[in-house]
Every structure is written in structure tokens, then in C-alpha cells.
């Protein structure tokens, strides 16, 4: 079975791309693939605490992300470099791990498939 990495580089709500991408990650996991998720650059805002999508008639993406472990997606990373310089307060109910650039290099190389959604 292949190892998938989903890289999310866009913040939520501005477009539905991050949400659609997480749906794809869950489907991959449902197919028994080994799935990791990496939030980088503006994408790190997806894990921000206190989101309330209802204010603009949208699903709250941090709530969607809390479902990842139920799909056995345990490797959820947030780029440490992207966090610095942004005032992101990580939603406490999410178990996400900061990851340094050098470890991201290794992560990407170790995967068979990298799926992104840009710009």
C-alpha cells in the first residue's frame, strides 16, 4: 500500500480547497493507505483555535480536522518555520506536531504520492 502525503498550503474559508483536500485524505485513509498531512505557509491557519465557520455560512475546518484520527490519520504536521512569524494558537483538541524543514525534506522523500491544492 502506498504512502500518501497531503500538503495544505492555503488558509481555510478563502476557498474550499483545503476542505476538499481533507476529504480526499480521508478517502485515501479509508482505502487503507498510510496518510500524512502537512500544513505549511498560510495553510497553518487551518489549525487555529476558536474558528467559527458558521459566521460566514461555512463548515468549521478545525472541526473537520478533529475527525482525522477516526480515519487513522495520525501523522498531522504543522511546519514550524511557517508557525514562526504567524500568531497561530493551535486548537487544543487537535493533535498536530510541529515539524522542521529538514524533517519535511525527509518526509516528502519517504512518500510515494504527494497531493497538494494550490494556489
Amino acid at each position: 500500500m502506498k504512502r500518501f502525503l497531503f500538503i495544505v498550503s492555503r488558509s481555510p474559508y478563502g476557498s474550499s480547497h483545503a476542505l476538499e483536500q481533507m476529504e480526499a485524505a480521508m478517502v485515501a485513509a479509508a482505502f487503507d493507505a498510510k496518510v500524512a498531512v502537512l500544513f505549511r505557509d498560510e495553510g497553518v491557519w487551518n489549525v487555529q483555535q476558536g474558528q467559527a465557520g458558521a459566521a460566514i455560512g461555512q463548515k468549521t475546518i478545525s472541526n473537520v480536522l478533529t475527525a482525522l484520527p477516526a480515519y487513522e490519520i495520525e501523522e498531522v504536521y504543522v511546519c514550524a518555520d511557517s508557525l514562526s512569524g504567524r500568531d497561530v494558537q493551535t486548537e487544543p483538541s487537535l493533535s498536530v506536531k510541529p515539524i522542521h524543514l529538514s524533517d519535511q525534506q525527509a518526509l516528502i522523500s519517504a512518500c510515494d504520492v504527494v497531493i497538494t491544492a494550490q494556489p
Binding site: M1, K2, F4, S16, H17, E20, E23, A24, V27, A28, A30, F31, A33, D112, V113, V114, I115, T116, A117, Q118, P119
Partner: protein, 131 residues
């Protein structure tokens, strides 16, 4: 080798079609195969039926190039979740939601996200053409 391709960009908003089509044509020309082209996010607009190509000297008809690819046996799968919310529906979805007309172009079909993952699992390589 066997390829799974993904197209994330809409016509005119991106070069995803030009890149993906030229790449796919080169894959086939080299004697290799394409498991499926999957249209995701705004890429689903590639399969909108009524596109009228600009009448200039280039006569670039991207939709026709996609359909030629389909004619050579390449499956063009539009993400059904991304597609129907944006307004890309086949006859069956048109009937289900009681819409006036279908909008999906010939040669394309609506498929689930599972078909993206299945294609990737069957293929040797996944190549993605972003928005």
C-alpha cells in the same frame, strides 16, 4: 509505466490543461499508459460542455483535445463532489436534482474521490497539474 494524472486548474485561470494535455500526449506517444485523469477542485470546469474556443489564429480547442484523449481510451474522471456543487452535472445528476439541462461534456464522467485513490494505487506515478 502507468500514470495517474490530476488536474486542479480551470481553463483560462491556469495552464493546467495545456500542461496536462501535452504531458498526457507525450506519455501515450512514448508507449506508456494512463490509468485515469482526475479533475479535482476548479479542474472540474475542464469538463463543462458549452465552452466556445476563441476564434483566433491558434484555434486552440482544449475541450476537443481532452475528448481526443478519451477517444484513445483514457478515462477522464471528474470529482463528483467538486463537480456538482460547481454546476458540472451529467444526465443522471441532472435528473436527481431536477435541473434543466446536463452540463458535462462528452468524454468525461463523474466519479467519486475513491476513483482518484484507486487510480493512484494502480499507477506507478502520480503527476498533479495545479491551479
Amino acid at each position: 509505466m502507468n500514470y495517474a494524472l490530476a488536474v486542479h486548474g480551470a481553463p483560462y485561470a491556469s495552464e493546467a490543461a495545456e500542461h496536462a494535455l501535452s504531458f498526457a500526449e507525450a506519455v501515450l506517444a512514448s508507449g506508456q499508459s494512463i490509468e485515469r485523469v482526475f479533475f479535482f477542485h476548479d479542474g472540474v470546469y475542464q469538463g463543462l460542455a458549452a465552452q466556445v474556443p476563441p476564434q483566433d489564429k491558434f484555434n486552440t480547442n482544449t475541450l476537443k483535445r481532452w475528448q481526443d484523449l478519451a477517444g484513445r481510451g483514457v478515462e477522464l474522471g471528474i470529482c463528483i463532489a467538486s463537480g456538482i456543487k460547481r454546476g458540472i452535472v451529467d444526465e443522471s445528476e441532472q435528473a436527481r436534482y431536477e435541473l434543466e439541462h446536463p452540463t458535462l461534456a462528452q468524454g468525461f464522467e463523474l466519479v467519486g474521490l475513491g476513483q482518484l485513490i484507486a487510480a493512484i494505487n494502480s499507477a506507478d506515478r502520480y503527476v498533479e497539474f495545479p491551479a
